[in-house]
Symmetry: C2
Subunit: 489 residues, 2 copies
């Protein structure tokens, strides 16, 4: 137990340090800080959160509670509500509850078994590793209190007329299940320790001491991370360089085996197109469609015909039902957050399509080839992307991924056509010619991407696109089949 006067003296110096660190973080924006608050009720969770906002400049700390999700959140993967509250670099967020809440509660209530619980923990730890690599410093606090101490705390609160309102049936129910709750949490804490993403367990017997301990941990972490970021910033200057262009892809690449001569004549195209359009219209009218959300993305070499294929696809969808998201340079709000954030913003609600013209695969394509991110960054992206797509699929999204492939000759022909046709001029510039020189590097990157991110649920569809009609039919057919088979499931 810490005396009030000792506490005040400690806090006075701690807050000066925290404030200075917060200012430095705001000024240099090397990372954001995310504080997760979990634990036994009555162990000082809300008091500590209150103190954190008092000790530092509260304008740069956002607190969020995650009780019942809203309707918009319910229509999307469970992580959506956490993603939308992620702080930008330089700022801090305090989450009451997090991605741990649901699995811990489900396991405490015995609604899930041990195996699935540990699978959930594994997913969470992969998420946290990704956030860490993307500049989100995640600090996890578990506020602990033994059963006896909890009983006393509740009785004390009830006895005081100023605080008795805080003790409701819910608090006593929590008391009843606290033994099991703590045991389940212990497993989560051990799993974090084992993965090198440890929790800080806070003894909640003395609420003031608990708050102080959290403040100190926060201070030490911020200090250490700011120092490391300063060192890293100094070292960086010499190393940022585009990687060497590798040789052409190995013979096992599906790009090598692609028959680019495939084509379809105009009449057959028209006939097939109308048929597929009708099938898509029928699929969209099915009642089950209302719980599906197709997520369709397009990648491919420049001038491979992504835009044209997208236009033929959207012609078959009610414009009120889809959003088309072109991926170009990120906005400053997007740049300040993990790279997947800008895609999470567009995750569709029930019964709606989202079409991405270029996508999160930019990480392992243009960012890799141009050296916009480090090798470690794009290497970890494969599994991060697989996780992301799994989350989409689990929430009812039908993920369809297209790579449109043309030959180098065909690209040259289309580039020249763009230069020669006035109304196509805007589609060609020096960047395109520059990228063309990196063709082999893009083929290597694409081939590795197919190998690592073609999953059972969302395989890549590689479309020979020298013949535009052939490519457009292939795209539409693949989308129709994917949606029909999701409806049958």
């Amino acid at each position: 137990m810490i005396s009030k006067s000792d506490w005040e003296a400690e806090v006075a110096s701690l807050r000066t340090e925290l404030l200075a660190l917060q200012q430095k973080m705001l000024a240099t924006t090397p990372f954001s800080v995310l504080v997760l608050i979990h634990g036994v009720d009555g162990a000082g969770k809300s008091e500590t959160a209150q103190w954190l906002t008092e000790w530092m400049d509260p304008r740069h700390i956002q607190s969020s509670a995650f009780d019942d999700p809203t309707g918009e959140e319910l229509e999307r993967p469970p992580l959506y509500r956490f993603y939308r509250r992620l702080p930008p670099k330089g700022k801090m967020a305090v989450f009451f509850g997090s991605w741990y809440s649901e699995p811990i509660e489900a396991r405490t209530g015995k609604r899930i078994g041990e195996g699935p619980f540990h699978e959930r923990l594994d997913e969470i730890l992969r998420l946290e590793a990704m956030l860490a690599a993307e500049g989100v410093v995640v600090l996890k606090f578990w506020f602990d209190l033994g059963k006896k101490a909890l009983r006393k705390r509740l009785e004390d609160l009830e006895a005081d007329e100023d605080t008795s309102f805080r003790v409701t049936k819910r608090e006593w129910a929590h008391y009843d299940s606290v033994v099991r709750f703590r045991r389940v949490a212990d497993e989560a804490i051990h799993a974090g320790d084992a993965a090198g993403l440890p929790w800080t367990v806070v003894d909640g017997t003395d609420v003031r001491a608990a708050g102080l301990s959290v403040g100190r941990t926060l201070r030490d972490t911020m200090r250490e991370r700011l120092a490391a970021a300063a060192v890293a910033a100094k070292g960086k200057k010499s190393s940022s360089k585009a990687p060497k262009v590798p040789a052409a892809p190995v013979d096992t690449s599906p790009l090598r085996r692609l028959d680019l001569t495939r084509s379809i004549d105009e009449e057959a195209y028209e006939e097939e197109f109308v048929k597929l359009q009708r099938r898509l219209a029928i699929a969209q009218r099915k009642k089950r469609f209302r719980s599906l959300s197709p997520v369709i993305l397009f990648e491919g070499m420049d001038a491979a015909g992504k835009g044209g294929a997208i236009r033929r696809l959207t012609r078959s969808i009610d414009p009120r039902r889809y959003e088309l998201v072109p991926i170009a340079a990120p906005s400053d709000e997007e740049r300040a957050r993990p790279y997947l954030w800008r895609f999470w913003r567009h995750v569709p609600g029930d019964g709606r399509f989202v079409i991405f013209d270029r996508s999160w695969y930019g990480r392992v394509l243009v960012e890799r080839v141009e050296g916009y991110c480090s090798e470690a960054d794009w290497r970890r992206a494969y599994s991060e992307i697989n996780d992301f797509e799994s989350q989409l699929e689990d929430a009812g999204c039908v993920v369809v991924k297209f790579w449109l492939q043309i030959s180098a000759d065909e690209q040259l022909r289309r580039f020249r056509d763009r230069e020669d046709t006035e109304w196509k001029n805007f589609k060609i510039g020096p960047d395109d010619w520059r990228n063309r020189k990196k063709w082999p590097a893009y083929e290597v990157a694409a081939s590795e991407m197919f190998a690592r991110t073609s999953t059972d649920r969302s395989p890549w569809t590689i479309v020979p696109a020298n013949d535009k009609r052939y490519a457009r039919i292939a795209v539409l057919r693949t989308v129709v089949q994917a949606i029909e088979s999701a409806l049958d499931r």
Copy 2:
């Protein structure tokens, strides 16, 4: 009636023009385009929207339908759902339905009388005038069809097995009320004409002709507006200059009459603070509070103690229940939209507080004084802001506005203290000294702001803040009283 071949020839040249104009708009970003689609069902509304996305680059056009609002939207003012879909400059949005839908439907169904209907139209026209001034080109299309033509359209659709699904009970109900619906719409159209914000009425008898006419109107408007923007951009260079600093405010300003010597001693402060805190806690626990959303904003001279007052206020609110929004430079996403957009993003849901540290009043304070916007811009802002706050209040927000006032001497003392105290250093810089020289201009701007934006429902509270304790108590008491009186209403 236009023949198919004529139509195709017309469309071929029209789309080239539209595409070129769209590219120019994207490159120069002088404004955004918002197309509102209303009218009788079966008159070509969805066909036209589909064609627009086909004729132009669909990646820069976002279509939105406004059917049932989501839960998050229902908790906020009706305009929220439209604001969140406003396109950034350079881009285009197509809205199926808009702020007109609800009032026109309500009037058609006789749920509101003629007077209230025209009040709603007036509000809408003020909104549209604001959007126009903020660089949103709003194009309103009314697709019209006589009762006879509508009957024929529905019967034709029903007869064709490919389209019969489009005719449901809803369509026939629409047919029954179409006479009254068109009469009500006619009033909205006339009101728009009278206000210089006209509709384009589109004859829907021939759907292709209707689409073509919309495309032409869009082309003509974009062409005209791009030309005007180019002229304006050329003229601009010479004119952007900070306005002259005016004299001190007239004697009628409440700032002149403020007693800055007011103070409170520490003991009385502590006692009063605890009492007010308790009242706020009790108010928050009332069931009725769950439908209230306090919106509290702080303005005032630099170093007037806004941060300290906010901190004392938030100490009395559960951190999970409020969001604190510091207003600094806008992000690029915010800059590309009307100035109120960045505040609409933070409008709180039910039972939640939002606290703005500086606010939309920046328009008539810093932007006016520094010449960041034109005189016309800040002059129109008073009524725009009053409208915005009315919308908040109508939706259950309790709007509380504070101006913290200190004397020039007290400011000087605090500036020096900030310079001399290491951990306060970050709060003072050359900007602050520069602003201080414009003190009289800020007093003039603030005085005019009080006169024009103190309304019955949300008056300004001007707080003498030379004594920090006095100011903090005054702030907390005003918030408590505002919430209590909203609960009693």
